[in-house]
């Protein structure tokens, strides 16, 4: 095996994409049943190079370049899982998942229940998602609510390199289908990855920055924006607590509740359209759980009910530090 191609033994700084690569490498090494599948994942190493070098080291039987057919990729992964394999499939971009949506929703999500629990479907579907990289149409979407809405699926999204490394391991180990949303504009952000650490549970939310005045909850690409907003707010004398949700199905409402009971205010931030989005669900639940603790209505910051705009407008479309702080100000004004 190439020197560059070993899983990290000691803590080191890695970009998110490399952290996922290391994680896949570790999984391939540890379990001969793990397979990596998708378009261009082999020789090319994926269009984002997330699977770089894996085929060279594990062979075409383990790291499988597939035909350009998303339904086929997921459908055959289901069959491989039924045979005892643990496929990790890559959907090249968020907007390309829809040809496979039927297989994911009508088959992958429901087969365990249909068999009264007798069979398991340990399939991970990796979807590089979200905007901010100046891409063309169908390359910047955030369809997570469409999947989180479906019983039988689990949906997660790491926001940093360490989570990317650990959450991928945990997703592969899960006996349930996991949709793994990778924040593509964070692929190049570096963070410390310690392979000897003890990771938090896959579906737990984590307090990324403690604070006292307003809880700001986000996941994936928006966590960094919220942390920047919290730093800016601190300079203005406002203490924000940033919660990294990490999982959109299930959602760790307990952690959000604890934070809101402390701060009395909640702002939810995601790139996806606000309407019927993940934030809407959290707002409803938290209102139900913390009605008497809330000092202000739960507010949401996110995308509009419009197609994802052309790249030259995406800076206006995507929630940024100012829009988050504006919502924080509105929450504090009550």
């Amino acid at each position: 095996m190439a020197a560059t191609g070993t899983a990290p033994a000691a803590a080191q700084k890695l970009p998110v994409a490399k952290a996922i690569n290391s994680s896949l490498r570790t999984a391939l090494e540890n379990d001969p049943k793990v397979l990596v599948m998708g378009e261009d994942v082999g020789k090319l190493g994926g269009v984002f190079r997330v699977t770089d070098g894996l085929q060279k080291d594990f062979g075409e039987d383990r790291v499988i370049d597939t035909p350009l057919a998303e339904s086929g990729i997921v459908g055959t992964a289901i069959g491989l899982a039924l045979r005892g394999y643990r496929p990790v499939v890559e959907i090249q971009f968020d907007g390309f998942v829809f040809p496979a949506y039927d297989q994911i929703v009508t088959q992958l999500a429901k087969m365990h229940a249909r068999a009264l629990g007798k069979i398991k479907l340990p399939v991970v579907i990796r979807i590089p998602y979200g905007g901010g990289i100046g891409a063309v149409e169908h390359h910047s979407e955030s369809p997570e609510a469409l999947f989180a809405h479906v019983a039988g699926l689990k949906c997660v999204s790491p926001s940093n390199a360490s989570d990317a490394y650990w959450m991928m391991q945990q997703a592969i180990e899960s006996d349930d289908p996991v949709i793994f949303f990778e924040p593509k504009r964070r692929y190049w952000d570096k963070g410390e990855v310690d392979p000897s650490a003890i990771p938090a549970p896959l579906h737990s939310a984590q307090v990324a920055r403690p604070g006292s005045a307003v809880t700001v909850a986000a996941y994936g690409p928006m966590v960094k924006v919220c942390l920047e907003a919290a730093a800016a707010a601190a300079e203005e004398g406002n203490s924000l607590e940033v919660v990294d949700l990490r999982s959109m199905s299930p959602i760790d409402f307990d952690t959000v509740q604890r934070s809101v009971e402390k701060t009395g205010r909640l702002v939810l931030v995601h790139e996806a359209p606000v309407f019927l989005g993940t934030g809407a669900e959290i707002a409803a639940r938290i209102t139900e759980r913390c009605f008497y603790h809330l000092e202000a209505p739960v507010l949401r910051v996110g995308g509009f009910h419009a197609p994802y705009p052309p790249a030259r407008l995406e800076d206006e479309y995507l929630p940024n530090l100012d829009r988050v702080l504006d919502a924080v100000d509105r929450a504090l004004a009550y």
Binding site: L82, R114, K118, S174, P250
Partner: protein, 468 residues
Amino acid sequence: MTVESTAARSDARRSGTGGKRATQAATGKAAGNGKADSNGTAEAPEGATASGTSRKAAAKTSRKPAAKSTGSTKSTGKTTRKAPAKSAAKGSAKAKARTRAPGDGPGRPEPELVQLLTPEGERVTHPDYDVDLSAEEIQGLYRDMVLTRRFDAEATALQRQGELGLWASLLGQEAAQIGSGRALRPDDYVFPTYREHGVAWCRDVDPTMLLGMFRGVNNGGWDPNTNNFHLYTIVIGSQVLHATGYAMGVAKDGADSAVIAYFGDGASSQGDVAEAFTFSAVYNAPVVFFCQNNQWAISEPTERQSRVPIYQRAQGFGFPGVRVDGNDVLACLAVTKAAVERARTGEGPMLIEAFTYRMGAHTTSDDPTRYRSDEERTAWEAKDPIQRLRVHLERAGLADDAFFAGVEEESEAMGRHVREAIRTMPDPDTMAIFENAYADGHALVDEERAQFASYLASFADSDSQEGR
């Protein structure tokens, strides 16, 4: 709308199409086929060129996975089961030749069906496919078909009595299902659609298990790995991809099992089926695609699905396709055996089109009199799969009256068993709603389960208070 007018339109729609001509060829009544010429022109050149392509593609793709993952196991399989493997290779080689015989030139109707038993019950031979069965084995096929039909009839009746919410009858398709089902080994794996009651029978799946979904007590309900028979799949064509993926896994494991995917002529229009063809060919997966062309996808005729005979589509993907008389249990057995043996020996996928007929409705909710003629059904009744095998058994002196009486008695017992089973089938526990949504659990499901349980418990409390 009258039945007559529907019938007239329906006849007009099908005149001069592939389906009709093939039907005539199958029955040996293909008189005056000249009128079909206009449709036949495109077929021969296509077939001729695809012949070489398909062989090449198969050879090219088969080398890779076989060399890597299977190696010794596969060759062991070959030697231990030398005879069938040999005949399979022979069958498959000829299968390719068969679908593009010299006679299939422009103007000829599509090739006739592989047939070993005429509708009149006469045993005939076929140059490429054959089975050598003992009297007991043929009797067994007859028994399988009679019992399957009886089970199906019972289920239809139970639906009419309100015991089942819906039933998808297999009436008329017994030979396709029993013939193909009996070609399989226990370690082969079956991916059915929702009408494969006969295949389930061959896999020793308790027939009453099949009723749970239609009664509404579960959405599947059996462990697919017990009999290597996957759950019924309602979304059309989805399972064909699962079969292909499973077969890719079989090849990776170095096993010599085969996988068979059942689907209908309607499903052949689905993208998933085309993608399954692509994946199976690219990875040389040991999967057999068994299309039961029963002529109707609810009210849509086969010619609304395909402008070429379905079996010919395989050529475009690089593997052989063959059309078999789906009402001839011996031919279905012979062809499927050849196809699974071919898969076992690393030669990759094959498509079988079983040309048959759904004698009943699509499901009990359907009314076929709105879209097809009585004449059509009558014509197909003359090709009944059970009757023709019975005539063969009688004429060839392979079974006596006692045998038929015995099967009839078993059939009655089967009917009683099914009736009893359905009427005593318990409704699922309310809390089953929350069971098995996830293998590893899910916080939201846990929360909702607890909330609903306490909601239900509140009624119990108020009931007991009222009782006081």
